[in-house]
Symmetry: C2
Subunit: 158 residues, 2 copies
């Protein structure tokens, strides 16, 4: 009877963890969206796309952006179009493949993203202010473990 009790009690444990993680993420995400709109008139996907480009100064192809942002290609086209219209990113031809583009930040885009990233960092630091440095590390490590294992199993479907 120990086993039965254990079998039933272990599941809600993971479930409670998930609900807490989901709620917290939504809370922080909602605040980030609100602040991005209020202070910079932009959205999280747009910020995310620019963040990807900031990490890759040579630019990224559309399909690379699509994979990293975890959305389908059509959406990346739409977001990129907006940012191109505002002069924040540009499409550069790829030598040797006339189908593909490489999207990268313009100087103005890089500068604006710098401002946004500084603010964004402040919001995030404030959100995790309740944890000590070693607790942040512990959390980071535990989530990394989940992610590594999850990748292995969940992506079998692909």
């Amino acid at each position: 009877m120990d086993m039965e009790a254990r079998g039933h009690s272990e599941h809600p444990q993971a479930l409670r963890l998930w609900l807490r993680m989901l709620t917290l993420t939504q809370l922080v995400e909602k605040q980030v969206r609100t602040e991005l709109r209020a202070q910079f008139e932009t959205t999280l996907p747009r910020f995310d796309l620019m963040a990807q480009l900031e990490r890759n100064p040579d630019g990224l192809k559309m399909n690379e952006l699509s994979r990293r942002m975890m959305v389908t290609g059509g959406n990346v086209t739409g977001i990129t179009d907006q940012l191109v219209n505002e002069g924040l990113v540009e499409r550069v031809e790829v030598a040797g493949d006339r189908r593909a583009y490489r999207v990268r930040l313009t100087p103005r885009g890089r500068s604006l993203f710098g401002d946004m990233a500084r603010q964004h960092e402040n919001w995030i630091v404030a959100a995790f202010d309740g944890l000590s440095s070693s607790e942040v590390d512990a959390l980071h490590r535990l989530l990394g473990k989940v992610k590594a294992h999850y990748k292995d199993t969940a992506l079998e479907t692909t």
Copy 2:
């Protein structure tokens, strides 16, 4: 110079944690949405509303649902309408206040939600399968600490 070095190095730590947490949450959430649609032809907000009602067998008022689901009132009306049309929830009059309703699961809704919740639990348990029981606890505790502190500070704006 120790202080300056510390000041600069602490921020990316929280930032890396946030990015990892956001990515992981999106990964799990996306899978849950896909499975809910494939197996039950439903969505996460609908599942969420039913989950709230399952925890409150006497039902919840619209504004209580709105607060718990962290969305504004109009949206709750729309989702509730859908579920009423499918016979999964019902609006019950509140004695003493003819403005208010109490929304609760119908027997059919409760039964269907049971099926969904069992599957949902399996997906979540699988997602966190890489962690031991004590690691799940540790993660749960750390996130609770973030949430508690975050609530105190972030909601000052309200």
